[in-house]
């Protein structure tokens, strides 16, 4: 509810102004916190959440203009609504505040009725924006949400160096037929939770889930120093987590599950594809196709993790791999060198 009590930060170097504004804000049913200058205000804003900032301009240490600039540059704070309250002379300063992102400008002494209307409008806008962000967050990864916020939404891609991972559950169809749909959903939820944790903790982003399969990116939308190493580390952790998960399943007499993972590294085109109405963040290119083929080939090769030459090269000697030689893969005219990552047990 936009009417609910909001946390309002009041920044003013003048004590009378602080007391008066906080009285007005409290009489409107909101909670007021006080700061004496811009620097102190920014510290508070970075430490705890606020719904609205009432900002004075003329202040020692750090003035209101500098605060607006800093808020604008901070992805966490740039959506915080700011109402400037000042008795600066001239239109220039008002224009500058609005240009720097202030929601509104109220001349001091502030008229309480006007203040109430402006606070109400700002909170309503913030409420809508928060809802929107929550939706984006739920249906996109936080990295994609952040990328969307920073660069805006535009269809079309850019070329980036990344590692692409495909993973799925071996023999999933047979498993689905042997158990109730509720059990399958429960299994998938546990499985996805574990896989997301492993991928995320190594800097990867899951960008597609289809049935029991998933596609993850390392190095897009945000660049990653060692994308191949991170992808392989994530894969090893995924295998380990599945083994632990299987121990739990065995305790309740449920069959073990096995996963297959394919990883390829190289240039991909990453970006938003679809239409203006409905789009998804994804990667396309040979590297993506190769990763998908490697994952399929884990069934044939009977190995849990297969990687391509580029990934192996980037790994150097950090991880033990087994050379499986050149293998013909679907969609590839020439045979492709593939390698199996040693997972410390027979695949």
């Amino acid at each position: 509810m936009a009417d609910a009590a909001a946390r309002v930060l009041i920044v003013d170097d003048n004590k009378v102004n602080r007391l008066l504004l906080s009285r007005n804000v409290q009489m409107q049913g909101h909670r007021a916190e006080l700061a004496e200058n811009g620097r102190a205000a920014l510290e508070m804003l970075r430490r705890e959440p606020f719904d609205l900032l009432l900002l004075d301009i003329e202040m020692p240490e750090m003035d209101g203009f500098a605060v607006l600039e800093q808020l604008k540059a901070d992805p966490q704070l740039r959506d915080l609504p700011v109402i400037v309250t000042s008795s600066m002379e001239g239109l220039d300063s008002i224009v500058r505040c609005i240009e720097l992102g202030a929601e509104d400008y109220l001349h001091k002494p502030v008229n309480p009725v006007l203040l109430k209307a402006r606070i109400g409008a700002s909170l309503e806008k913030k409420h809508l924006r928060d809802q929107q962000k929550e939706l984006v967050r739920r249906f996109a990864t936080s990295e994609v949400a952040q990328d969307l916020q920073q660069s805006g939404f535009a269809l079309g891609g850019k070329r980036v160096h990344a590692s692409v991972m495909f993973s799925d559950i071996r023999g999933f169809t047979a498993l689905v037929e042997s158990q109730s749909p509720e059990e399958t959903i429960e299994l998938l939820n546990s499985y996805y939770t574990l896989m997301f944790d492993a991928i995320r903790s190594h800097g990867g982003v899951v960008n597609q889930m289809v049935g029991d399969g998933l596609m993850a990116l390392f190095g897009a939308p945000l660049p990653l120093d060692d994308c191949a190493g991170s992808a392989v580390a994530a894969a090893l952790e995924m295998i380990e987590l599945i083994e632990q998960f299987n121990l739990e399943r065995a305790a309740t007499r449920k069959p073990a599950i096995r996963i297959g993972i394919g990883i390829a590294t190289g240039d991909v085109v990453a970006g938003y594809t679809g239409t203006q109405q409905r789009a998804t963040y994804t990667c396309i290119g040979d590297t993506v196709n190769l990763a998908a083929r490697l994952e399929e080939h884990t069934k044939v090769a009977r190995r849990a993790i297969l990687i391509d030459t580029e990934t192996k090269r980037a790994l150097a000697d950090r991880v033990r791999v087994e050379t499986l030689g050149a293998v013909p893969l679907k969609g590839k005219s020439a045979a492709v060198e593939i390698f199996a990552v040693d997972i410390g047990r027979s695949g």
Binding site: K15, V16, N17, L19, L20, E58, M59, E89, K108, P112
Partner: protein, 115 residues
Amino acid sequence: MHESVIDKAVYVELQETTGAEFVDELVDTFLEEATGMLAELRSARADNHADRFRRAAHSLKTNSNTFGAMRLAALARELELKGLDAESARDTAAIAALEVEYKRAAAALKDLRHG
């Protein structure tokens, strides 16, 4: 006499919107703080510090407007807009005039507070 120093309509409106008791406290705070602002004005003049001078005048103007001390606000505003004068004697004279008006306003506010 008081009517000319403090605009009663502004003062009453402040009481109506924030409560008479709160305004009493706010007046006390202003009287405590204003002495400091006047001292800051004098010391900024002595140090030739334009920013501090402007800020002190600005603060005084804003608070005077809040209580309806219109003449005091006008004198402070003049100093804020003009800034430091090349001839410091002119500022010293202006500050002295401001202090006289402040004493009147302070007395009027104290009366209102107890009236």
